[in-house]
C-alpha cells in the first residue's frame, strides 16, 4: 500500500471511534470499548508494523531535531507518526470522556472538549482536566451562598 492509502485508511479507522466518543450513548460497555480499547489497539498494531518495516531504513533518530526531520522524510515513517497521534489521541479522548462522565459534566460540554482532543490532543486534555479540577472549588463557592428565606 502507498503511504497515501495508509494515511486515509488510518483516518477512516479513527473517525467512527470519535463519532462514538462524541455522539453515542455511554450505557453499552461494548460500544465504549471501541474508542477506548479496540481502535487504539488496531492503530497500535498498524503503527508497530510500519515502524518495524521502515524505521531503520529512514536513517534518523530521536536525539536532535535534525534526526527526527530525517525520520519524517520517509513517508512511511511519517504515516507511522500520524497513526501514533491517532491512536494516542483516541486513548486520551476515552480517558477524558470517562473523567468528565464521573464528574457529571453534560454531553454538550463534553462534545466541545472531545472535539478539541480530536483536533489538538494535548489542548483538549488540558481543558478536560482543568474543567474537572475547577468544578470542585466552584461547587464549594456555590455552597457558601446561603439562600435567603422569602
Amino acid at each position: 500500500m502507498t503511504p497515501d492509502a495508509l494515511f486515509s485508511l488510518a483516518g477512516t479507522l479513527a473517525l467512527p471511534g470519535w463519532a462514538i466518543l462524541i455522539f453515542a450513548p455511554r450505557r453499552w460497555p461494548a460500544l465504549n470499548a471501541v474508542p477506548a480499547v479496540v481502535l487504539p489497539l488496531v492503530l497500535s498494531a498498524g503503527y508497530t508494523l510500519l515502524i518495524l518495516a521502515y524505521f531503520a531504513g529512514a536513517g534518523g533518530d530521536f536525539s536532535l531535531i535534525a534526526g527526527v526531520r530525517q525520520l519524517f522524510m520517509d513517508d512511511y515513517v511519517l504515516v507511522a507518526g500520524w497513526v501514533h497521534y491517532l491512536a494516542f489521541d483516541m486513548i486520551v479522548g476515552a480517558l477524558a470522556a470517562g473523567l468528565m462522565d464521573r464528574a457529571g459534566i453534560g454531553r454538550i460540554v463534553q462534545a466541545f472538549v472531545l472535539g478539541t482532543v480530536f483536533l489538538f490532543g494535548p489542548l483538549g486534555y488540558l481543558l478536560a482536566r482543568s474543567l474537572v479540577g475547577a468544578l470542585g472549588p466552584m461547587g464549594l463557592l456555590a455552597r457558601t451562598f446561603q439562600p435567603q428565606e422569602g
Binding site: 457529571g104 453534560g106 488540558l126 468544578l135 466552584m138 439562600p147 435567603q148
Partner: protein, 263 residues
C-alpha cells in the same frame, strides 16, 4: 466505589458552564505570556479573555438563581433544555472567538468572505439565545412559589432578566447592524479606558451594552438589598427604570459620537 458516589452528585449545569468559562479565561491569560500579535488596537488574547470573564459572571448568576429554586423546577425539563441550548451557543461562540484570535483576525463584524459572514450571523443568533436563557431561568424564579427568595429579590430577578434582554437587544443589535461598536473613527493609537478598552476618543456603544447586560446582576442585587432592609418589592421597578435610563442614556451618548469619558 468512590468514583460512583462522585458521579451521583451531578453538578448544576450552569455551574459546569461557569467552570468552563473560568478555564477559558485561564487559557486566554496564559496565552498572553507567549503571543504579542495585535488585532486592531488590542492584543489577540484580550477579547477571548474579556468574553470568558463576562460568561463567568453570566453563568454564575444563573447558577446562584438555580440554587434557590425548588427541586421540581431545578431538575425540570425546561431549565435542562435552556442550559443545553446556552451551552451550545456559549461554547460555539468561544470556539470561534479563540480560533479567530489565534489567526489574529477579528470575530465580530468580520464579514470578509462567505464563511466568516455566516459565522458572524451565527454568533448573533447564539448571542440572542444566551440572553434569552436568563429569561427562562427568571420565569422559573418568578413562578416557583417554593423558591427561597424574598419578594423584592424575586422581582429583581424578573426585572433584571427582562431589562437585560430588551436593552441588550437594542444596544448590541445596533452594534451588529452598524458592523462596528464605534460611532466615528478612532485614529490608530487613540486613547481607551483602562481594562475595558472602550474608546475615550469617539462614540463607543460597548458601555451601554455593558450596563444593559448587567441589569441581570444589578436588579436582583437591588432586590436583595431591599429585602434585607425590609422594604417592599415595588421599589425594584424604580431601580429597573433608573438602570434602563442609564443604559439608554449611554446609548444616546455613543450614538452622538461622544466617548464615555474623553481622555
Amino acid at each position: 466505589m468512590m468514583s460512583l458516589s462522585i458521579s451521583a452528585a451531578r453538578p448544576d449545569p450552569f455551574l459546569t458552564l461557569t467552570a468552563a468559562a473560568a478555564v477559558l479565561l485561564a487559557l486566554a491569560v496564559g496565552w498572553s505570556a507567549v503571543d504579542h500579535r495585535m488585532v486592531g488596537d488590542a492584543q489577540v488574547w484580550v477579547k477571548p479573555a474579556k468574553f470568558a470573564l463576562s460568561f463567568i459572571v453570566h453563568f454564575a448568576t444563573l447558577a446562584l438563581i438555580m440554587r434557590v429554586l425548588s427541586p421540581e423546577w431545578r431538575e425540570g425539563r425546561a431549565l435542562g433544555l435552556t442550559a443545553g441550548v446556552m451551552a451550545t451557543a456559549f461554547l460555539g461562540e468561544m470556539a470561534y472567538i479563540f480560533v479567530q484570535a489565534a489567526q489574529a483576525q477579528p470575530s465580530h463584524f468580520y464579514v470578509s468572505d462567505g464563511f466568516h459572514s455566516i459565522m458572524y450571523r451565527l454568533m448573533g443568533f447564539g448571542a440572542v439565545l444566551l440572553i434569552l436563557g436568563p429569561l427562562v431561568v427568571a420565569w422559573a424564579a418568578v413562578s416557583d412559589r417554593a423558591a427561597a427568595l424574598g419578594p423584592a429579590t424575586r422581582a429583581g430577578i424578573g426585572w433584571g432578566a427582562a431589562a437585560s434582554f430588551v436593552l441588550t437587544m437594542i444596544t448590541a443589535g445596533t452594534m451588529g447592524a452598524r458592523l462596528s461598536h464605534f460611532v466615528g473613527n478612532p485614529p490608530p493609537g487613540a486613547p481607551t479606558l483602562p481594562f475595558f478598552g472602550w474608546s475615550a476618543a469617539v462614540g463607543d456603544l460597548r458601555p451601554a451594552h455593558f450596563v444593559a447586560l448587567h441589569a441581570l446582576q444589578v436588579l436582583p442585587l437591588a432586590g436583595l438589598l431591599l429585602d434585607r432592609a425590609g422594604l417592599g418589592a415595588g421599589a425594584v421597578r424604580w431601580v429597573a427604570l433608573g438602570w434602563g435610563a442609564l443604559s439608554l442614556g449611554l446609548y444616546a451618548q455613543a450614538l452622538m459620537g461622544l466617548p464615555l469619558i474623553r481622555l
